[in-house]
Amino acid sequence: MPSPVMTVSHLGKRYGSTVAVKDVSFDIQPGEIFGLIGPNGAGKTTTMECVEGLRRPDRGQITVLGLDPQRDAAELRTRIGVQHQEAHLQKRIKVWEAVDLWASLYAEVADTDVLLSQLGLNAKRNAWFVNLSGGQKQRLFIALALIHGPEVLFLDELTTGLDPQARHAIWDLIRHIRDRGTTIFLTTHLMEEAERLCDRVGIIEHGELIEIGTPAALVAKHCPERSVIFTSDEPDVAERVQSVPAVTSVEHNGSTYTLRGEGEDFVTDVINAIAHQSIRIKGFRTETPTLEEVFLKLTGHGFRD
């Protein structure tokens, strides 16, 4: 196994009397897309900014690309790309001016024209920052973060407030960037984003990492229950499928039956039973819990501070 791109161990950070990060440890492997998810105020941004070297942690060790973010800040800054939550530029800076300014800060830079057209910003080259739409601003920030071909890309809530088209376009872009070898550390509130984009996610609450793993593994571990929902007009259907070993409950509402159960063979067993009993069915679908259900189960419902 290659050595991790970044290692965070027992990170702790407080602001005055507020404990923002209590105890967070994780590794990110080369070429991985790692996502941190958690309720508002859980400590995602703080964790990310400690890793970027923008904040000095109170406790713990961080290594990024073999560097200490505090001690080797200067070198680290040339090798990482950063997109902040809720950032702004000068109101009246033009898109090309921002790109040109950022390009002047690094020794080696990508072809900025290619970058702008990849991000669909070519038509907006001469537009002022204030006149860009939310999605265009986000794409500009991604362009600025990518200008020097960083080895690690940090993205703090990159698709918040974007429409579905823009979001999907940005997801494609992020996958593309990863395929070129960049490691990506992101935070998000969108479980769909975490599930589709991230190889692994960490769930953080009240400054503590409470779970970490692939989305599929987390779902299998915390929400193993599956449902099969079908409709049939035949009599005694409930009794006829009750005997399937994996089924734990059967509910029906008119001609719609909902079967719940656990285990990898649950759906197959139900299908076999239906076939075996020659039940005529009209509709059939399965429901698998998503990361969102895992998230709500682990972090509870209701508002946070």
Partner: protein
């Protein structure tokens, strides 16, 4: 990082010029004050030889307005950039903090020189004799004064809570300094407590240095003002590095 410095300076200049209010506040107002008051005072009394008759030295007032306008604009920009996360964003790049703030100071100094040049041109055209002074020496005196006042601006920029209040707080703290700068009446007439405060303010030493240059005295004769301006710059810069907030 010199390339980054010049790029940032150039971008900041362009961005500033696109902000109509900023240009009017920083350059338009001092020039207008200069012409209107100059007409009112009567241009004859403004010349070198007639200084005694004028209630106060108008070009120095206008020059101070330029320097203070630059400082207020600096306070506003810094707090706006801080609130928008722009300072933090830049800090995540290889640019050093000194370079980032240095570019802003540089833009303001260039603006000050442009403002003074405007005053001179306007003065030559509308108020004959009003700008009869060793311009090189006067520019140098104004630049030193501006650097000192800008450093105070950084301290104020660290203290303002939000960008919304930056402009009023900057204006409310900086402009009143003119009242006790010795420009309108001698410092000896001030109550002792206020006089002590006045001597701690950059404007007071700026007025005394610029008045000295105006009267044709060499810099050597005003070394106290020069040292005081440098001292205030040192103290404010030192203080800023302690209290400056990047976010």
């Amino acid at each position: 990082m010199l390339r980054g410095f010049w790029k940032l300076t150039w971008v900041e200049t362009k961005v500033f010029l696109r902000e109509p209010l900023g240009v009017i506040g920083s350059l338009g107002i001092p020039v207008i004050i200069f012409i209107v008051l100059g007409r009112a005072q009567g241009s004859r009394t403004l010349g070198n030889e007639a200084m005694g008759e004028a209630p106060f030295n108008l070009p120095i007032l206008a020059a101070l307005f330029i320097a203070l306008g630059a400082a207020v604009s600096l306070v506003a920009i810094i707090s706006l950039y801080r609130e928008g996360g722009f300072l933090k964003r830049l800090r995540a790049t290889p640019l050093s903090p000194v370079t980032i703030l240095g570019a802003h100071v540089f833009v303001k100094l260039v603006l000050t020189v442009v403002g003074l040049a405007l005053l001179t041109l306007v003065g030559r055209r509308f108020l004959p004799g009003a700008m009869d002074v060793d311009l090189l020496s006067f520019t140098a005196a104004l630049l030193l004064s501006t650097v000192s006042i800008l450093s105070l601006g950084f301290v104020i920029a660290s203290l303002v809570p939000t960008a919304r209040f930056a402009q009023p707080i900057g204006t409310g703290l900086l402009y009143p300094m003119i009242a006790v700068s010795g420009l309108f009446f001698p410092l000896e007439q001030l109550p002792p407590a206020i006089r002590v405060v006045a001597y701690g303010l950059p404007t007071t030493h700026a007025v005394s240095l610029m008045q000295g240059v105006w009267d044709g005295a060499g810099w050597g004769a005003h070394w106290v003002s020069v040292v005081a301006l440098i001292l205030i710059f040192g103290v404010c810069t030192g203080l800023s590095t302690k209290v400056f907030r990047w976010e």
